[in-house]
Symmetry: C2
């Protein structure tokens, strides 16, 4: 089960010292490999990616949550990306031989420990959700940190672990198992975040757009530019190129172009190969047959 689980916590800070403290906790756990940290100043948020065996990944996730809670005060946090916790979300992703069921079990163990050891109430989400209205992270997070103190008092929003008391500076956290996701940002040639929001609403699944696409508009102050920030939750259903071309078409309505895109953290090679085949217009291309690397390891 070596490297069979990927964990991709998002913490609500882009401060290098905070990210390093969190990353150091991950590095210190045997059986775990830190793969990547990505910080965005406008989002005031960082994505930390690591892989390992189930026992190591659980330990690293709990230690990282403690480190984030000790260093991030959400009462002082400003950032363009919505957030409800110092450690905002902790997804566990099955890769290689691991199953989703194993990741659900792992997420429940980690959730309990994050409450017990870091004192942060936990909502289970996605494949680990305890109710249908808790599957979608955006629904759990609505109201953000500032609204969470009231939200948890509602009958349907008691956290799964920790009761109805929000951590005063670290908020709450969503923990769960999910399929691989690509965090994909598309930067626009306008600073007008209202346009980015209209594009996001048009292309995302919840607005009747592309399946398995979540999108919000964000203003990037350090660039004075608007961004459509996307989570691609299943690139086999909606590939990267379809999201880009849908955003390009919507943006054209406002005479706005795409100035560049970003992949935050890691992406599976197949998502990129599929987009290459699309743009290069390769006919009858079978990656599992024709990409050398697929063939050398079987």
């Amino acid at each position: 089960m070596a490297n069979s689980i990927e964990c991709v916590p998002n913490i609500s800070s882009a401060d290098a010292a905070v990210v390093e403290a969190a990353a150091a906790q991950v590095r210190a756990v045997p059986g775990v490999t830190l793969l990547n940290t990505s910080s965005d100043l406008s989002h005031n948020r960082s994505v930390i990616t690591f892989v390992g065996d189930p026992v190591g990944v659980e330990e690293a996730a709990v230690r990282l949550a403690k480190a984030a809670a000790a260093r991030i005060d959400l009462t002082r946090h400003r950032g363009e990306h919505p957030r409800m916790g110092a450690v905002d979300v902790v997804p566990f992703v099955p890769i290689r031989e691991a199953t989703m069921a194993e990741c659900v079990a792992l997420s429940r163990r980690a959730a309990q420990r994050i409450w017990q050891e870091a004192g942060i109430p936990v909502f289970l989400y996605e494949a680990s959700a305890s109710a249908p209205n808790r599957k979608n992270l955006a629904d759990i997070r609505r109201g953000e940190f500032e609204g969470m103190f009231e939200k948890v008092l509602q009958p349907e929003w008691e956290p799964d672990f920790g009761g109805r008391t929000v951590h005063p500076t670290a908020g709450v956290v969503a923990v769960g198992a999910r399929a691989p996701l690509i965090a994909f940002n598309i930067n626009l040639s306008t600073p007008d975040v209202a346009i980015a929001n209209r594009i996001a609403r048009a292309v995302r699944e919840s607005g009747g757009g592309l399946p398995c696409v979540k999108a919000i508009g964000i203003y990037l102050s350090e660039r004075d530019a608007a961004q459509v920030s996307i989570n691609m939750t299943d690139y086999t259903r909606t590939p990267l190129h379809r999201a880009v071309e849908a955003v390009r078409a919507e943006a054209a309505k406002y005479d706005v172009g795409i100035v560049g895109t970003e992949i935050v953290g890691l992406a599976p090679m197949r998502a990129l190969i599929d987009s290459a085949a699309y743009y290069l217009n390769i006919a009858q291309f079978d990656p599992e047959e024709q990409v050398l690397e697929y063939r050398l390891d079987v």
Copy 2:
């Protein structure tokens, strides 16, 4: 040294029974894995890809040459792709831990055996070439099978193995070590092969075009369409997308478009990832850091 050498013989037949006979020879050799066969009816040619350890790959290449010589009669061969032998070219490619020098040594052993055991004279080419004018396959092959009987009589064109007697039905063969190559065809919206030839001349290195690009125009009778048939000899110097966009721009001069492309046989994933990053306009993308598969195996 398992799977450290790739061998990609091209044989002058697209007949399924002939290809299967050649493939069966490869499959029968211990330490060798057949990865792919690709046949093109208009080219009347097939590309066979296998990997293995040096001893196994040498044995498989010799057996395949014998099988091809026994079944392909070039006096009756018609096809759009230039050819000089029943087995036209046998390249050995270092992958993983193998070196080019090891592939050169291997190619010389295989060349001697192909002459001794199959009776086919051999020109060493690319990294194995015995003279500068023999590095380029197109220079060796000029005149094709029909012209080879005269060509080998010229002082500078005596084969490296086998003397000046061309095999009466199997011709001659080029054997050598080379870097990985992508066989990449671009199909045009015109049947006019003269246009494909003009585009090929404009984009290929020998015509002052893109570095590490070889290209010829070919008429595909079964589609009634013209094709620019390309060998990309170093995709890190000229990537796939640059070749496609160069062909697109040249074709536009004739009011011709690209209807599709083909990758013949196998391609390294990095070539496709680089093109995805280009077309998706991904900024600051580091595949070795951000593509999951690169990170799991180190």
